[in-house]
Amino acid sequence: MSRRTRRSESMNEEVLSLIEAMHENMQRLEELTGGEVDAVADRLGRTFMLRGAQDRLRLSEAAKQAAILNALPAHIALLDTQGVIISVNGQWRQFGHATAVQGPGHATGLNYLAICDRARGEGSFEAHLAAKGIRSVLADDAKTFSVEYSCHSPTEGRWFLMTVVRLDNELLSGAVVMHIDITARKQAEIDLRSSENRFRSIFGAVSEGIFIIDPATASFRDVNQAGAAMFGYTPDELIGLDSRAILSSVPSDTESAASAWFQTAPPMGSPQRFDWHCRARDGRRFLVEVSLQPATINGSLSILATMSDVTERRATEEKLRQNESRLQGLASNLPGVLFQRLIRADGGCSFTYISDRCEEITGYTAEEWVSDRTIARRHIGLEHLPLFLEAMRQLRVTPRPTEIEYACTTKRGDEKWFQLKIQPRTFPSGDVLWDGLIFDISHQKRLDRQRVELENQLRQVQKIEAIGTLAGGIAHELNNTLVPILVLTKLALKELPPGSPSTEKLQTTLDAACRARALVAEILAFSRKEQPRTIRVDVAETVASAVRLFAATLPPNIALENRAARQLAIDADPNQLLQVLMNLGTNAAHAIGTREGRILIATDEAFMAEPAGSHPDNVVPGDYVRILVSDDGCGMDSRTVERVFEPFFTTKPIGDGTGLGLSVVHGIIKNHRGRISVQSELGRGTTFTILLPRSEAARDDGAAAT
C-alpha cells in the first residue's frame, strides 16, 4: 500500500511555517527528553507522542500487524472492488504452486477474478465458484463467502478453505480473500467417514443380530440389518423402540424377565451368555443365543447385545444328545459288552471303547482291560485259550468277521461261557478298527447241555423201545425155535445108551438151549411195558425172600446182612420187586468176586421234599420207602456209573451176562413210580438206592405186615 502524501503548491505559507515549527519543536522536545521518552503530557494532561516514538509506534504497529498477517497459516490477499490484487501476505507470496484458483504466486496487480474466470481443467469448477462468490461479496450481495476445494500435489492430498469477506473502511474498499490449508481437518474427516463406513459395513454385513440398547430407557439405540430381520423388521422400525416390546414377545418370557436383562448386564465384565426364546413379527418362534455386555459407545454406556439364531443348532444338539443317550442306554442295557479295539497300521493296538457293563459281565473293569494285557489269558479257560489266540492272530493277518465261543472264569471265580463277535473295519490309513461284542451265553450253554442230555435220554428210551419192539417180534419165533432144541435134545439124551460119547455133547447142547431160553425171556421181560400187578407188599418180607434165595447161592466168602426195617409197605408187584433185589444182589456178588466181602440190604422210610430243579429222575414229593443194596466190592468208575442203567451195557466179559439186568431193574422201579440211583467208588464198593412210594393204606397197621 503506497502512502499518499499530499504536497501542493497552493498550500499556504501558514501551514508551511506551522509544519516547519512543528518539526523544530519536535526536534527540540527530542533533544530535551534525550530521546528516551515516547510521550509527554502538559499540565492539562494532554499527551503528545514524540516523533520518534510516533514513528516507532507507527512502525511497530505496522510491523506487528504485518508480522501477524505473515504468520497466519493462511494465504491472504486484498482485492480492490475490481478484483485486482492490492496486497498479499507472506504465505500468499511464498506459495509457489500455481493453481487455477490462487493464481501464480504473489502477483499483486493481477486481477484475481480474471485468473479464476480463466481457470480450466482440474479445479476449474471451484475457481468459477470462487469468482462468483467474490463477486457477490464485492457486490454486497453477501457478507461473506466460503468454499472448500481440493488441490492435490503429486505426493499428497491437500484441501483448502477459501473465505472472502468484504472490506469497507475509509482507507480501502474491496474484499479480503483467505485460503486456509484444511488438509488435516479434511483428512480427519475422511478418516472418520471411512471408519464410520467400515463400521457400518460390518454392522450391516454380519449375520448375527447386533442390538445397541440404552440401559436407562431400554430402547434400541441401534440395530443392524441382521438383527432387525430376525424379528421381521427393518432397523429403522426398531431404532428408538422400547426393546422389551420385541424381546418379551414370547408369552412365557414376561416383560419383567426381559427387563432383567438391563439390570444384570451393565455390572458384568465378561459377556453374559444365555438362550432366549423369541417371536418374530409373523409369529414364528425361534431360539437365539444372546451375548450381553456393557459397552461405551459414542461416549455413553450402552448394552451391546449380540444374538445368533440357534434354533436349528439347538435342535440338532438335542437330537445328538438324545442319540447319545439312546446309544448309551443301549450299550448299558444290552446283555453284553460292546467294545472297539484299534489295531494301528504300525502294529500298536488299544481299546478305544468299552461299554459300561464290562465289569458286571466279565468281572473286570474297563480300566483293568485297558491297562492289564494279561487279562485275556487269565480270563479264558485253558482249553479254549489256544483256539482264542489263534483266532486273534488270524484276525490280525486277515481282518474278517470272526465269532468264537469260549469258557472262562470271571474275576469272582464264576464259570461262564462267552460268545465273542468281532467285525473288523479297515481304513485307508491301514488302521483296522474291531467292532466287538461279548455275550454271556452261559445260560444258553446250560440249556444246550440239558437239551443234549434230554436228547440222549430220549435216544436211550427210543433205543429201548426199538429193542422192545424188535424183541417182542422175534421172541415169539425164537421161542418156537427153541422148542425142538430143548425138548428133542433131552429126548435124545434119554435114548442114548449109558456111557455114550454123545451124552456130554448133547448135554452141552441142552445147556446152551437153556441159556438161550433165559436170554429170550430176559429180552421179553425187558421189552414188556406191563403195568405191574401191585398189591400191598411188606418190604421186609420180600427182602427176607431174597435173602433166603441168596443164602442158597452165595459163596461163603460173601456175607449178607439184612437190615430191613419192619412195617414198611409199598404197593408193588412182589415178583418184580424180588427180581430187582435178586438182580442187585447178583451184581453185588459179582463185584465182590472171590475176595472177602459183604452185601448189605437195608430199608428205612424217607420223606422227599420238593426238588430244586427239574430232572427226569425226580420223584413226586411225599413219603417213601428207601431200599439200599450195598457192597464193598470193586466199585465202578464214574464213566461206568453214568452208563450203568443203559440196556446192553455191561462190564462183565462177553457171554457172561446180557447187560439187561439193571436196565430191567430201572424199568421196574420207574413203573412203580420210584427212583433208583447209584453211588460207587472204584476199589471201595457200590450202593444202589431205591425209593418207592410208601403204601397209602393204613401205615400203622402192624397186623397187616405179616
Binding site: N479, N480, V483, L486, V487, L491, A521, L524
Partner: protein, 137 residues
C-alpha cells in the same frame, strides 16, 4: 396110549411134539391152523387137543371156542410162544374160553409128558368120561 391132536403153525414145534408124544406111545394128528384143526378134530377124535394161540387163518382162542361148541369136555391145552414171562393175557383168555391147561414155549420135555398124562388121568374119571365115538368128533 391116546390120540393127541396138535394144532400149531410152526413145523419145528409139530415135529418136536410128534417125537415126544410118540416116545410115550401116543398117536398124533397135526394141523397147521385153526380151520385145519377143527377138520382134524372131526376126523381124528382125539383124547387131548394141544393148540397154539397165535396162528394164521383161525387163531387159537377162536379155535378153542369152536371146539367147545363141539365138545364141552375134551381136554384142551393152550400153548403160547410168548415166553415164560408172558402173553399171560392170551393164556388167561384161553382158560376163560375153555382151555384146561396152559403151557409156555419153550417148554420142557417132562412138562409136556406130565401135562398130557395128567389130563388123560382126569378123563378116565366118571365126571370126565370120554367115550370114543360117543361125540360127534
Amino acid at each position: 396110549m391116546a390120540r393127541i391132536l396138535v394144532i400149531d403153525d410152526n413145523q419145528l414145534v409139530r415135529d418136536t411134539l410128534k417125537a415126544v408124544l410118540l416116545s410115550v406111545g401116543h398117536k398124533i394128528a397135526f394141523a397147521a391152523d385153526g380151520e385145519e384143526g377143527l377138520r382134524a378134530y372131526h376126523e381124528f377124535c382125539p383124547a387131548v387137543v394141544m393148540t397154539d394161540i397165535l396162528m394164521p387163518k383161525k387163531e387159537g382162542i377162536e379155535t378153542i371156542k369152536d371146539l367147545r361148541k363141539i365138545s364141552a369136555s375134551v381136554p384142551i391145552i393152550a400153548m403160547s410162544g410168548g415166553g415164560r414171562v408172558g402173553n399171560l393175557e392170551y393164556l388167561e383168555m384161553a382158560l376163560r374160553f375153555g382151555a384146561n391147561r396152559t403151557i409156555s414155549k419153550p417148554f420142557e420135555l417132562e412138562e409136556v409128558i406130565e401135562i398130557v398124562a395128567g389130563l388123560l388121568e382126569e378123563a378116565v374119571l366118571p365126571s370126565t368120561a370120554l367115550e370114543p365115538g360117543s361125540q360127534s368128533c
